[in-house]
């Protein structure tokens, strides 16, 4: 956990936001995140985020469900308690298709949703720092993290120049969902004169 300082730029139009992200990135600022009230297609690419691997996870969970069903039913009907249903085969694969399919879907969906919640660090009672409460309403919020290479005043000026309608500075303690990959544990305020 480290305390970090962020410059928060608020945009009211997604058509201003797109070029702004590009300019902020090419100017070398570290975009902590952008918060939007709805999904905007292409914004992830504009920010340079990689594609999510959630699909792959879903596929793996689905395969797990398939093997659980076939393995489970196969074991029960052939090894654990073989029952003779009107002289039919003990390995009656066509009759297992419905349950196999259902378990595939069930495992895949439940697994994916749990993975989604884990990756996004979402669960009941989770409290997060919300930079702008109206970013779930009508505003687009770009949060720039101040590092020892960036200066608060210049970041504010730059955000104004790219069209942010409101700008403020916030200090937030990053939870492990924010700072997972950060090796740097020094609180922002203690870095002192490292800022340019």
């Amino acid at each position: 956990m480290s305390v970090k300082k962020f410059v928060v730029g608020i945009f009211t139009d997604e058509q201003v936001l797109f070029p702004a992200i590009k300019k902020v990135r090419s100017a070398g600022y570290k975009i902590h995140d952008v918060y939007t009230p709805m999904a905007i297609h292409g914004l992830d690419h504009a920010m340079g985020l990689r594609e999510t691997s959630l699909h792959t996870a879903g596929f793996i969970y689905g395969i797990t469900g398939t093997t659980t069903a076939i393995g489970g039913i196969g074991w029960i009907f052939n090894s654990d308690w073989p029952i003779n249903f009107g002289g039919k085969s003990h390995f009656d694969l066509p009759a297992w298709i419905p349950i196999t399919f259902e378990l595939t879907v069930l495992f895949s969906s439940v697994g994916m949703v749990l993975t989604f919640c884990y990756l996004c660090q979402m669960a009941p009672f989770v409290r997060k720092h919300h930079f702008n409460l109206r970013s779930t309403d009508d505003q687009f919020t770009m949060v720039i993290e101040l590092t020892d290479k960036t200066n608060e005043a210049s970041a504010i000026d730059f955000l104004t120049s790219v069209g942010a309608t409101g700008i403020n500075t916030q200090t937030a303690e990053t939870g492990w969902w924010l700072g997972r990959y950060d090796k740097d544990k020094t609180p922002f305020e203690q870095k002192g004169t490292a800022l340019v």
Binding site: P37, M38, I40, A46, H55, L103, L106, S109, P124, T136
Partner: protein, 483 residues
Amino acid sequence: MALLAYESQVRPGLVDGPKDYHQVTEDLVRPIEANPTRAWWIGFLVSVACLIFGIYSVTMQVIYGVGQWNLHKTVGWGWDITNFVWWIGIGHAGTLISAILLLFRQGWRTGVNRAAEAMTIFAVICAGQFPIWHMGRVWLCFFIMPYPNTRGSVWPNFNSPLLWDVFAISTYFTVSLLFWYTGLLPDLATVRDRAKLKWRKFMYGTLSFGWSGSVKHWQRHEALALVLAGLSTPLVLSVHTIVSFDFATSVIPGWHTTIFPPYFVAGAIFSGFAMVQTLLLVTRKVLNLKEYITVEHIEIMNKVIVLTGSIVGIAYLTELFVSWYSMNKFENWAFFQNRVNIFSPYGWAYYLMMGCNVLSPQIFWFRKMRRNVTVTFFMSIIVNIGMWFERFVIIVLSIYRDYVPSSWATYYRPSIWEVGFYVGTFGLFFTCYFLFSKFFPVIAIAEIKHILKRSGNVYKAKMGHEEAETAEEFAAENLHHDH
């Protein structure tokens, strides 16, 4: 300014009125933040009263046994399974709207998908009651689950369609719930961030799982929605297919029909859309959401109703043809004596079904009728009645005059407790729906915002400039825009 999204003027707009993002939030969160209206209270209390009657009926049945119902040796499945299939069918429209239309990129689903998905979940809960309470010794209902038990282990029969049903419906319920709830997260966060009262902040803070609207989260959210839609699409088809297997894999004439799976799925979507219409026409009126659930939405759903109603009609006729063509006297008896013969004891039910499901929806070939709210509401009720009778015809009319004429005299009439149980599920359904409409956004706020600048009528009107351009001008203006 270049466009981020452009939609042809040929497509009708889906959001009326001068809306911006904030106005959308205001309009759609208002019903949650305002005090419940008198109409809400009346509806809610009536629903709760029905629910209490249902609980009483079920209690009577649990105390005194399934004999409280008027089922007998000949008609072993009556109202309970009819209601079960009917409720399950109702649920299917919700998944069709939320999943299949998402895959087909149908923008109009955004106005209706949230309420339709909620309807699915409540309908499946209602449907599940019937097989569970029909078990009689309901306290042993966990026997249907495969678990290592001390009785052997004795496992359920995995080759039985009744067990497939257990898996299909529990999976369907789980997946629908997950799909609905993940879609709700951003909207619950919207409500949370506007909340002023402490309990509201806590409640919606808890329910929204700490959703922040981060781009990465949106990206995952979209991927999740797409994959869940891809999974739900075959799932919803499989569920009613498996329900139809309950009948189709038997050897009863009238049930033993290979046409059942597609026929049941079409019927399910048909009845489900009728229920969506019933609910949404009331919702848009009571919550004043006419700018979001527009006449365009109603018209499109009516088109689905006339399509699926006609598919069901063809299925009815095909059944008759196959029965005649089989030259099997038992098949012939089941269809031509027990159903088509209007003078048979239950002949009226067959013609009621035909009239409600096949003939009456044909009115929707006329545009004026499709866009008439009163006609639509009336028709949605008619279709629901018709679809209930379809299940009744299939289940009861196939068995009430079977191979042994000595059992024919037992004309099946439901007991008050069977009727009470059915009324109780209505109570359960509408109690849930009223609570949902009070505490959750009935329209997907984030999804409306997503299509607003493409399909909002105000924004579409401004696209006239682009409409007049040549393709080269349009490309020059838009494609080279930097993003």
